[in-house]
Structures are given as C-alpha cells and as structure tokens.
Symmetry: C2
Subunit: 417 residues, 2 copies
C-alpha cells in the first residue's frame, strides 16, 4: 500500500513539474473539459454514488451525513459550474510580486509559482474532490486526494473522470489523483510523504486535525476549528448586536465560522441579554452562562471552564459578562481558536483596541462572523480556512495555493565579501 | 523539565500578545538598549564565553567549531552593531497589504502582524542568540531559543542581558528567552509545543533538520540544506562561467549557498572542463565526474549516484556533462535540495527555460549562487534560508517573521445565503 501511494506521489510530482509550466490558457481549457466531462458522465457518477448511499444506509450513517454524501443531477451540474467559475478566475501564477535592483546590478524578481503537490485529506462530501481538483489545477498544482471510505465509489469515479478529461485536454497525467486507500493508514502514510507533498490540508473534524498535527512530516495547513466569539461592547447599537449575534449563531450553526460564545459588556448586559435570550430561544438555542449571566438569565445553564473552549457546531451558545474590551480580548486570546471574532460597537477606540489586540485570522467590526469565507471575501472559491499563522490565515483560495521563487538576472556577478 | 519549558512558553505567549501591540518607536528603543547592554556587559559575556571555550577545548572540539564559539570584544561590538542596524530597518508590522470593499459594503483589510512566538533551534554560534532576538523583537515576535550545550554559558548570559535590558526599556518580560536545557530532549519538547510556538526554525545540519521534520508538531520552516548547481550552457560566455563557478564553489565552501555540482553542456564541455579543472585544482578542489567528464578529465574520480545528492560543504565538486538545458533542469529537480541554482548563458531562451522549470528558491542567470543571502538581497539581516515552499522561500528576514490578519469594517452586515 505504501508502495502504491509512493508511486502515486511520484506521478503527482512529475505532473506538478509539468503543470507549473502551463499557461492560463492550457489550464482553463482543461478545467472546462473537466466540467463538461462531469456532466457527460452523470450516469456513471450517479451509479457510483448509489453504491456509496446504499452502503451508508446499511451502515446506519446519520441523515445529515447521508445528505452530504448524496449526488444528484443538480449537484453534478453545480460541481461542473463551480469548475467553470474557477476557470474564469485570474491565474495567480507568474505574478511578479516584487522586484528590485541591487547595488551590484543584479535584478531580483520575486515570482509567484505553484506550491507543487498538494495533499488534501477530507471527509464525506464528494464535491470536495471536484472543488479541490479545480483549484489545484488552476493554481498549477498537482493534487493527491484522500477522501473518506463512505464516499469511495463516488470519489473514485469523479477523480478518474477529472484526471482523464484533464489529460485529454492537455494536462500531465497524474495531475488529479485519489490516494489508493481510504483507511486511516493511508492518511497516515500521506502525512509522512516528506519530499513528495509540498503542503497538506486536512479538512475535517478535530480528531483528524489532531492526528495530522501529531503525525505529519510534511508541511501542514491547519484548518477549520472555529471557536468564534461575538463581543457586544458597552457602546454597541443593541439592535445591530442582536441581528449580528442571531446570524452568527443560528444562520448555519454547524460550520466553523458560526459563533460559539457571546461576550457582553456588563454595562449593557441587563438590556441586551434578555433581548438576546428571547430571540435565540425562538430559534432553539441553548444558553450556558457565567455567574453574572445567570443572575440576569436564571434559565441559562451554568457554563463550565470547558464550555469556553468548545466548538459546539450546534444550537448552543456560551455567554459571559465581561467588564471591559480588554477582558473580552483576554478571554478570546485564551480560549479561542484564532479563527474569527466580531465586536459590535459604535466606539472607534474600542473597535481599534479589539481588532489590534485579538490574535485571530479575521476580525469583524459590526458584522457577522459568518463572512469568513472565500466566496464572501470575493476569492471566488475556497479550499479551506487556515487557523494557523504560517503561510496563510483565514480563507484560502488560489493565491494561498502558491509560493514564490526568486529569479535573479545578472551579468557575471560574483560575491566578494 | 517539560514543566519548566511550558512555563517559559507561556511567558513567551503572553509576551508575544503584548509585543504585537508595540509600535516601532518602542521596539527600536528596546533593541538599541539591548545593543548598549551587550557592550556595557562585555566582561560578563567574555567570562561566560571563556567557560564554554575551556570546556570545548577539554572536550576536543575542532578548531573550526571553537572559532565559531569564540566571542571577543570585536565580535561583541559586531553583535551590538547588528542590533543597531536591525533597529534602523523599517517595521514590517502594520502594513496594510491589501484591501477592498465587498458588494455588501464590508471593507476588508489585510494587515501584516507578527507570527507570535518563534522557536529557534541552533548550533554553536552564540551570535545567533543576538541576531534572532533582534529580528524577532523588531518584527514583534517573542522568541524561545535553544542553543547548543557547547555555547550554554555564552547563550545564557546573552539571553539574560537581552531580556533584562529589553524589559528595562519597555519590552514585556519574557520576550527573549533561552529554553531551559540544551539537550536533545529539550529540542524535542520544543518541537511538540503545539499551541505555544507559532513557527519553529531549525538552523543546523542535516540530522537536526531531519529530526525536526519527523518529530515537530508545531509549524516548521525547514532551512539550510543547499545542494546547489551551476549549469554552464552551450551558449555560455566561458570566462563568466569560470568566474561564477570558482566563486560559487570556493569563496566559502562550508555554507549552504556554495555550489556542489557543476552541470556542463556537452557542446562546451571539451573547452570548459579543462579550464575549470585547472582553476579549481589551484584552489584545492577535488572533482568527481560522470563518465563523459572523465573522458575529458581522466584525473577526476568517478561520481556515484550518491554524489549527485550530496551537500559536500567542502572543496569537492561533482561534475556531469548534459545534452541540453532540459537535461540540466531534470537533474536539478531530481537531485537538488530546492535551494539555489545558477545558469551561465548568453541565450535568453535557455535562461527563460531554466528559470521557469527549475523548482528552487533562487535561480541566478549569470551570477554566483553565493548571492542567496538576506544581506545580499538587501533585507538588512537574515534569520535563515527556507528550502520549503510553505510560508517563505529563500532568504528570510523581518517580513518572513510576520503573518497577516483580516480586519473587516462593517455597519451591521449579516449573511443571507
């Protein structure tokens, strides 16, 4: 199995070296061919997906997971139009990011180039296979994809269609590959492919991320854990605060940019908390509050220390009353996951202090945490949301799938000192 | 020991959060105070260094290692003036790198911020303690430094002087710390400080780098292994080629940007190799050649497959005759370490093909590989040379010690779709 994986990785590496030299025209042509092929081979895809669905039902997967697994003609058309959209985006590769001339006459240019071979480890949803392949090809990267066992048949046929149609349209063979195997051991072996995989993106729950952090020998971009906060300042417009909080908590509670903790300044807690509790209760949200919160909202359950760390991904909200912006900042920097936080305030100094001092990827002033998203940011797509600081932070799309190299032009210069 | 290390890391994390909020004026003042303190406490430094030197001599360290370990008044002045130079450089933090307004009115800004807590694991030279501290403080990062046992006394007194004088000038306590311990176990524990260390830079030989790659759970920037190539094209100006090759191989053979392999086009091999052999022999360089090389230079030893991978760091050069630019590119992409390569040619198409297709951090046209260096590139300093693709490539200085965050300004926006 390791043998087979290394062979796939070697193919990916060769493909990556060739892909890096393709121009936008060639890459776009291939991506459009991939989109056409998905639609043309709808029947094969649905057949493979039906096998995964049957097995999933037999094995008792939850309705939510089954829904994520399901492909239908509409979803296949959406995947294809996603690819066409990626083809329409600008090519990040080849940008001369900076350049200067040294005193000795050397002309230094810093040129954007693909990362090389991207590894992606992901769960359930087969559309990730298509999204990741499109973004990687567009940015000149080969990709080695390891989906979950539950989507094996769907992913296999999708990857085969993408690789074949891409190759027929001029991509190097092996540009898009599914890892041979869906078990944990395959994922672990991928994490150890140092020298083959230039960057590995795990997309999944906490336990996947933890395994990758502990075991990976290849460079990793951690994604996705979002313990996001909304802080309602003493100078907040409480109507705005309510709208933002309700949106951040309830619009889509199972995603990483949903809010998990409300921090509220003590000066407005008595006004705001009852309003918030009413609106949230209507939407089925359970509250877990600190002491002071429970003096105002006795119906809230008591929050434990552990609640401040939790990413519920559910209709639960931890609530804490704080005495100042500084206390809110300290709470977030201590318990947060460095993903996304929002402050609601009309006070410019409070907004500046918060955005300056909170150490998270995205900070919103008077807007919902739900906007941390490649599509919403205008990137046109997204391969994940980084919660680490190395390489990229927040929503990652085409530019974040690149690195650079220095190309330096001289005329015989040698070093003296 | 792990306990003590975690306490140090927690201090570093607190320091980092405070450091991120200091302006350039405060940081520069502290760096200048650190420089003054080094000079004022010259005697303490020399005393501590004498202990390390005595021990090193007793333990039979090589003269080269002892020389790297040695501090004297001149070297202390150089360290201090290095700090003063770093203080004079622009502050990378706070740069608004990009910004745009979304259709819903949200104003997105991408702001450069410090990475947070930098870990640096390094060997022998105590000046790294001072250089790393200066660069980290300037870029708003706290640092946790783990030097080698051989320099323990020197590093301890240097770190204490830097932290104390920095704190007296307004830096948060714990901004500059030496890890409590110099053994491998300390280094290993540092590699596992996930959540405390935002990026770890190992500076040292291959075995240190390998251990870090295998064991680190924190984000790592690999540095320093340089199997660099000089390719002499059929269209090369052979005088330029000779000057560049001799410089790249012999000006300082023990460093990572020195050349280790010469590739020469078969059309010029008969002219160039004898010239090169003569010049290199004068400088004591041993040649290890491929079959074709040895037909021209029978005195060269035969090169084995292993030689193409080697970073000699010594007066040895592997030599291979190739049939085309493409063959040179393929050789480099296969055996190289993605550090630095040079092409010597007057043919623009060959130069373009080479710089486009070789997958290395720095590519020189008609110039020596020795220029891959933060100082030479005009960065004013250097904390290492990255040979990975994630985050930074090539020489790293202040900008490479930063990341970014998104600060988004709204007026009550919530997400609809």
């Amino acid at each position: 199995m390791r043998e087979e994986l290394i062979q796939a990785a070697e193919r990916a590496r060769r493909a990556a070296l060739a892909l890096a030299n393709l121009g936008r025209r060639e890459k776009d042509r291939a991506i459009l061919a991939m989109a056409d092929a998905l639609e043309a081979r709808e029947e094969d895809i649905l057949k493979a997906n039906a096998l995964d669905m049957e097995r999933g039902e037999r094995e008792g997967l939850s309705p939510a997971v089954l829904d994520r697994l399901l492909l239908n003609p509409k979803r296949i058309r959406e995947m294809a139009s996603g690819l066409r959209h990626v083809a329409s985006l600008p090519d990040p590769v080849g940008e001369v990011m900076e350049g200067w001339t040294l005193p000795n006459g050397l002309v230094v240019t810093k040129v954007r180039v693909p990362l090389g071979v991207m590894g992606v480890i992901y769960e359930a949803r087969p559309n990730v296979t298509v999204d990741a392949a499109g973004l990687c090809v567009k940015s000149g990267n080969a990709c080695l994809l390891r989906g979950s066992a539950s989507a094996y048949n769907s992913n296999s046929v999708l990857a085969r269609i993408l690789d074949e149609s891409g190759a027929a349209a001029g991509l190097p063979e092996g540009s898009v590959q599914l890892a041979p195997g869906t078990d944990h051991e395959t994922a672990r072996e991928m994490m150890r492919l140092h020298g083959y995989i230039d960057a590995l993106i795990p997309r999944g729950g906490e336990s996947l991320i933890r395994t990758v952090v502990e075991e990976a020998q290849v460079p990793v971009i951690e994604t996705g854990i979002g313990n996001c906060h909304v802080y309602v300042d003493r100078a907040a417009d409480l109507e705005k605060a309510l709208r933002i909080l309700v949106n951040a908590k309830t619009q889509r509670p199972a995603v990483c940019n949903a809010a998990e903790t409300l921090l509220v300044h003590e000066a407005v807690a008595r006004d705001f908390l009852p309003m918030a509790a009413r609106a949230l209760k209507e939407r089925g949200v359970e509250l877990r509050g600190c002491e002071k919160t429970r003096q105002i909202l006795p119906e809230a359950k008591p929050a434990t220390e552990e609640d401040w760390y939790r990413e519920y991904l559910d209709l639960i909200l931890a609530v804490k009353v704080v005495g100042s912006v500084q206390e809110a900042v300290e709470h977030i920097n201590r318990y947060g996951s460095k993903h996304t936080e929002a402050i609601v305030t009309e006070d410019l100094s409070a907004a500046r202090a918060f955005t300056q001092a909170v150490d998270s990827a995205a900070l919103f002033v008077n807007a919902s945490t739900r906007f941390t998203d490649g599509g919403e940011f205008g990137f046109g797509a997204e391969i994940g949301i980084s919660t680490q600081k190395l390489h990229a932070r927040g929503p990652m799309a085409l530019k974040e799938l690149t690195t650079y190299k220095y190309v330096v032009w001289g005329d015989g210069q040698v070093r003296e000192g």
